[in-house]
């Protein structure tokens, strides 16, 4: 253990301290103190992460397992509490603490209307959220990861239901929690299976023993792990909680979507890439589900009118693309997209928060429009975010998305074609959102118009920083076509995550450039189409009909789940509570009582109080025994 790695425990510990201070003293701290406590500890944690990153980035660095104490030691099972410092975990540390700090800073201004105890509660949850995620990323075995995994699930519940006075928000929080629990069950089963198969949950043991295990077992374990990832990272069929999670405050959405929550699934699969590459069936499942999610969410996003809902579905769609990358074996591309997506999705959410803040909690884009002049900084950063997510060079999204598309192209033309469709839809709905919000004429009320204002510096500074990252963040992964050996990220992550190996003959550079250029042209065409449709000053909003009504109503997935899962479950529960519980179980318990009472009443009649009758019975009994002894004895 050298100078730097002995301070690793501080990185998750600092947000935990912030959580304790804000949580315990929420009634005594003023708003500015609790804001600075929350943000300050995050900033320290970020600085430590940067120092750790510099340490890891030195040549000759070997991944280190830092042991703290025995967590569980029972029989043959040994689970230490230890952290793993390597390239992958450090990269995630940087994303989580960096973006987390910006979101904390932003929140100090965004949440200023809250009462001071709620304000401190908010920062306490936020710090706990980041702490759990750091634990998840740093853990050196699956159990520590699972602790963090459960922690983020809990914090997402707390934060989505932050305004618990509203029953709708509580429902959304519960939904997120239950959906996550379904996934968590898969993860837990995978851990149990790992223990029976490998006798250990430590990454190093599991990965070294994996090649000797039967493929069927590995497929089972990886599929169960993927079920966990489905829940946490919002993939079909467990994605419906994420759009509903918009009930929480907007910076929370940014935190969930960019830094802390949904990236957990990607991290887990990237971390377990050795297991996944040994189970081709799972890889194909991951790719297909990822792509299906990307397409489904993109079609839904086309027709949503709530600014945060559009962003939420775009996150689901982008996560689908990341899983596609993981499924085809391009782990670097998946992690790369996590990073760039974290930049521009945090940017988009915080900018959307700024818009919502200026519009006094109006989220319907049909009531916005023409905000460009009133909110110049927000407008600029939102535009940068849209360009980045749409994949226009040289913004960050272009590089990571291109890498995913290239990997899909190598595996199958169908995957390639469908992922292009998904990215084209992304460009269209993001610019529909952009034009409806910032171009044309203002469609809100007069009162809202007079109150329009640019947000304070605590909100715009994070926006500017994130905008810069969204522009430049992709330059650490420049593909081979443009410059030789310029993909810094791939070579950085190589010790943990294998570099993508094409199955087919690599296509020529001219061909690749042509495909890339073609896609960019198509995306620009999409943006232009959106411009023609939505940048006018008199956009009309007709009731959707036909297929677009299906899209606007989210393909009725919630209704289907309601009909096939929730309703039958409710029916079974009410049968259990009304018939099973009330009649059978209560009947059995009460029946025993009634039988005893009845029997007692009958037997009581023997107790007449007549001594003579007692003696008579006694004498008859004695005579009976006597006769038995004398004559029945065998």
């Amino acid at each position: 253990m050298n100078d730097m790695t002995q301070y690793v425990f501080l990185i998750p510990l600092l947000p935990l301290i912030g959580f304790l201070i804000n949580g315990l003293f929420r009634n005594y701290l003023t708003k500015s103190i609790s804001g600075w406590v929350g943000t300050g500890f995050m900033l320290c944690s970020f600085v430590l992460s940067v120092m750790l990153f510099q340490h890891v980035n030195q040549p000759g660095f070997q991944p280190e397992v830092i042991f703290y104490f025995d967590f569980i030691r029972a029989g043959g099972l040994y689970i230490p509490f230890s952290f793993l410092v390597d390239q992958l975990s450090v990269l995630f540390l940087l994303i989580i603490t960096g973006i987390g700090t910006l979101i904390h800073l932003y929140s100090t201004a965004y949440m200023h209307e809250e009462a001071k105890d709620h304000f401190a509660r908010y920062f306490a949850y936020l710090n706990l959220f980041v702490f759990s995620m750091l634990l998840l990323v740093l853990g050196a075995n699956y159990v520590i990861m699972f602790i963090g995994w459960e922690g983020v699930g809990l914090c997402s519940y707390l934060l989505i239901g932050f305004w618990f006075g509203n029953p709708e928000y509580n429902k959304a929080a519960k939904k997120a929690f239950v959906m996550n629990r379904i996934g968590d069950l898969g993860f837990l089963l995978a851990i149990f299976w790992m223990i029976t198969q490998f006798d250990s949950v430590r990454y190093l043991d599991v990965f070294s023993k994996a090649p000797a295990a039967p493929v069927a077992v590995l497929t089972g374990i990886t599929l169960l792990l993927f079920v966990g990832a489905m829940g946490k990272s919002a993939q079909i069929p467990l994605y419906t909680w994420l759009p509903d999670a918009m009930a929480g405050p907007t910076p929370v959405s940014a935190l969930i979507h960019a830094a802390t929550m949904v990236t957990a699934g990607i991290y887990m699969i990237a971390r377990s890439n050795i297991l996944y590459s040994l189970a081709p069936v799972t890889e194909n499942t991951v790719a297909v589900i990822g792509l299906a999610t990307a397409l489904l969410a993109a079609t839904i996003a086309l027709k949503q009118n709530d600014i945060k809902k559009v962003l939420a579905y775009s996150t689901v769609s982008q996560l689908g693309l990341m899983f596609l990358a993981l499924g085809v074996g391009a782990y670097t591309a998946g992690v790369f997209h996590v990073m760039t997506h974290a930049f521009f999705k945090a940017l988009l959410f915080l900018a959307a928060g700024s818009v919502i803040h200026a519009m006094h909690h109006e989220q319907d884009i049909t009531k916005m429009g023409g905000l460009r002049k009133k909110l110049p900084l927000t407008h600029l950063s939102f535009l940068i975010g849209c360009l980045a997510i749409a994949g226009i060079p040289p913004f960050s999204g272009f590089f990571s998305k291109d890498e995913i598309l290239a990997a899909a192209h190598d595996r199958s033309p169908i995957l390639y074609g469908l992922s292009i469709v998904a990215s084209l839809m992304t460009a269209f709905y993001m610019f529909r959102l952009y034009f409806l919000t910032f171009s044309g004429a203002f469609r809100g009320t007069e009162k809202q118009h007079s109150h329009l204002h640019e947000s304070p510096a605590a909100m715009t500074i994070p926006l500017m920083l994130l905008a810069a990252l969204s522009i430049a963040g992709g330059w650490i992964g420049i593909p081979e076509v443009f410059a030789h050996d310029a993909h810094w990220l791939a070579s950085f992550l190589e010790p943990v995550v294998p570099i993508f190996k094409p199955h087919h003959q690599a296509i020529s550079h001219q061909m690749e450039l042509m495909l890339m250029g073609g896609i960019v042209v198509l995306i620009i065409g999409m943006i232009f189409w959106a411009y023609r449709l939505f940048a006018k000053s008199d956009v009309s909003f007709s009731e959707p009909d036909g297929i677009s009504k299906w899209m606007a109503d989210k393909w009725y997935v919630d209704e289907i789940y309601d009909a096939i899962i929730v309703k039958p479950l409710n029916a079974i529960s009410s049968w259990l509570s009304k018939i099973m519980e009330a009649r059978w179980i209560d009947g059995a318990v009460n029946g025993v009582g009634k039988f005893v009472l009845f029997g007692g009443r009958q037997i009581r009649l023997l107790q007449s109080g007549q001594v003579g009758s007692y003696i008579l019975v006694m004498v008859i009994s004695i005579l009976a025994f006597l006769l038995y002894q004398l004559f029945w004895k065998p």
Binding site: Q607, S608, G609, Q610, V611, G612, I615, L616, V619
Partner: protein, 116 residues
Amino acid sequence: MNMPIIPVNYYIFLSAALFAIGVVGVLTRRNAIIIFMCIELMLNSVNVLLVAFSKMHHVAAFALDRTTAVGTEAQLFVFFIMVVAAAEVTVGLAIIVMLYRNIHSVDINFLNRLKH
């Protein structure tokens, strides 16, 4: 000394008859004092039996060994039973006296209040 030896059967029948009289008396009579006397009768029927058997044993052992004390223990039991019976009688009669003072009757069919 040469009294005719009465066979032990006679004592057994006497004892059985006394015991049966006692049982029937307890079962059929309602007067507490009579019941008490019947119980005493049963106790004493057992005493008769004890003495008879004890004597029988002793005679059998005495024929073999002139110094033996075998068969005399049961006669000691009889004294114990008499003592206990005497103690019982004092308590029992005291109870009966108290009963009579309270309800002016010694009919046990009135004594069924514990039922409630």
